[in-house]
């Protein structure tokens, strides 16, 4: 579903790459935690998937499309297959819950009828039934994030990207949000969640990809926030060491998930 081949991203006017030779494959239907210290390149990874930024070198493939060869007028179609949520929710303050979710469908030209049908359904899925008429400031942070998630998935995207979606929430609420993402994942949506939240990562036991200074230093199934579980591929080059991970590089040809994940297309 998402495939990075030796992807490097260096922002303008910066010397050090934000992502450096990243090889990664996320298969359809997977749930992946992207962890790493601040500045390790998690958001950059997500931006490349969305084609908000272009890779400096290497190939990014999303939903079977090579983003290098995707012309800019086709980018909206790519994004309709990807839902995104952020730490700061990004709701429109003047619009109700219903209108915020409906907005995502209006601006891609959906009919009134299909909007009227889809929005209540998705609000129920995220546990906001009956709150459609509230304004964002009348909701708790957790509820606001649910609205943002509803907006992200109302168009039934194949991929859901979440950039620290629990960053502003207390632990209980965070777990609720993550469980919601897991439910969405259970319906077939591929989920990539960037996070700092060690409790959540530890309790979910999903695939964990750790970035340090733009390198993938760890990629393991049922991983924790700090390593300890089985790596996806026990490749000798990929270090399974505890904190000194920063020192270790993924080899250029190391594509740990490729054999295991079984074809994105």
């Amino acid at each position: 579903m998402i495939r990075f081949d030796d992807v490097t991203k260096t922002y303008d006017r910066t010397a050090r790459p934000a992502l450096d030779g990243v090889d990664l494959e996320v298969s359809r239907g997977e749930f992946v935690f992207l962890v790493g210290a601040s500045g390790s390149g998690k958001s950059t990874f997500l931006r490349l998937v969305l084609k908000e930024e272009d890779a400096t070198s290497g190939a990014v493939q999303v939903a079977g499309k090579d983003l290098r060869r995707l012309s800019s007028w086709k980018v909206p179609h790519l994004r309709r297959q990807i839902g995104v949520v952020f730490q700061d929710f990004r709701l429109l303050p003047g619009k109700t819950v219903f209108q915020n979710v409906a907005f995502a469908l209006q601006v891609i030209g959906r009919s009134r009828g299909s909007i009227a049908a889809a929005v209540p359904e998705v609000l129920e899925l995220v546990g906001l039934e009956g709150k459609g008429d509230r304004l964002p400031h009348e909701l708790s942070g957790g509820e606001q994030q649910r609205v943002a998630i509803a907006r992200a998935i109302v168009n039934s995207p194949a991929i859901l990207l979440a950039d620290e979606p629990t960053g502003n929430l207390d632990p209980t609420t965070s777990l609720g949000i993550t469980r919601l993402l897991e439910r969405i994942n259970g319906r077939g949506t591929t989920v990539v969640m960037a996070t700092h939240d060690d409790d959540i990562v530890d309790s979910m036991r999903k695939r964990v990809v750790e970035l340090v200074d733009g390198h993938v230093v760890r990629d393991e199934h049922q991983g924790g926030y700090v390593t300890g579980a089985i790596p996806v591929v026990p490749a000798p080059e990929v270090s399974v060491d505890h904190r000194g991970a920063a020192a270790v590089d993924v080899p250029a040809d190391g594509r740990p998930v490729a054999e295991q994940g079984g074809g994105a297309r």
Binding site: L78, I82, V107, I108
Partner: protein, 296 residues
Amino acid sequence: MLSEIGIGLRRNLAMTISVVLVTFVSLTFVGAGALMQQQVSTMKGDWYDRVQVAIFLCTQDSLSASCSGAATDADKAAIEQALASPPLSQYVSEVEFETSDEAYAQFQEQDAELSASVTPDQLPESFRVGLEDPERFGVISESFQGSPGVEQVVDQREVLEPFFAVLNAATAGSLALAGVMLVAAVLLIGTTIRLAAFNRRRETGIMRLVGASSTFLQLPFLLEGVIAVCLGAGMAGAVLLLAVDRGVTGWLAEQVPAFDYITTTDVWATIPWLFVGGIVLASVASLVSLSRYLKV
């Protein structure tokens, strides 16, 4: 969609008003220039038809080299003959002969005081020649300048040239002013759209993320620009209509009735072009700044 545009226009009210006013002023100058040019061509068409080439004949007092006393009947007959036969006849649409008495009567009508100091026989007789093509004045002039009995060949259009020169200069001035104002309008529209895009970056950011097409992203901004410019064009049209109706039809045409003037009909014909020009302008300015500030 429409309500979003309304909200956008109101949120940016001061900027919107300045766009409306600047396009109003610039399009008024554009329109005024166009109308003046129409006035010039109306007058030229009208006048060049009426205005003739005058072949003034020698009087007994003429000092010109080609004159030896007053023109004789033979001279007159030769001129008349030349005008009526090829090759000249093809350029000539009509020939009238003005006697000294007729010339004197006209002089008296124009200026009774001054005409009192001359006698009819001091005023030259003349052939008044209407031309098929007023531009071919040279042919008549060449044929008769210096002929026996001819004192002078005068193209009456020359009398009008300074007048047209003034109108042309006024047109050029008004178009130059319009050009400067249009540059200001383009820059202002660009700035306004940049500001509007900044004010609405939340909405547009979300639109971009959920996959709104660039048309959908940019259209509201484009339409806001177009609506503002159309308001300006409408105001410019109204001012021009008023100016022509009161100033030209209602005043100038009464004061100086000798001319044909443009009317509000001409203004109505000009107004659609003000809109077209304004819309093209707004679209170009919008798209340039949108492609910079509202990329997908």
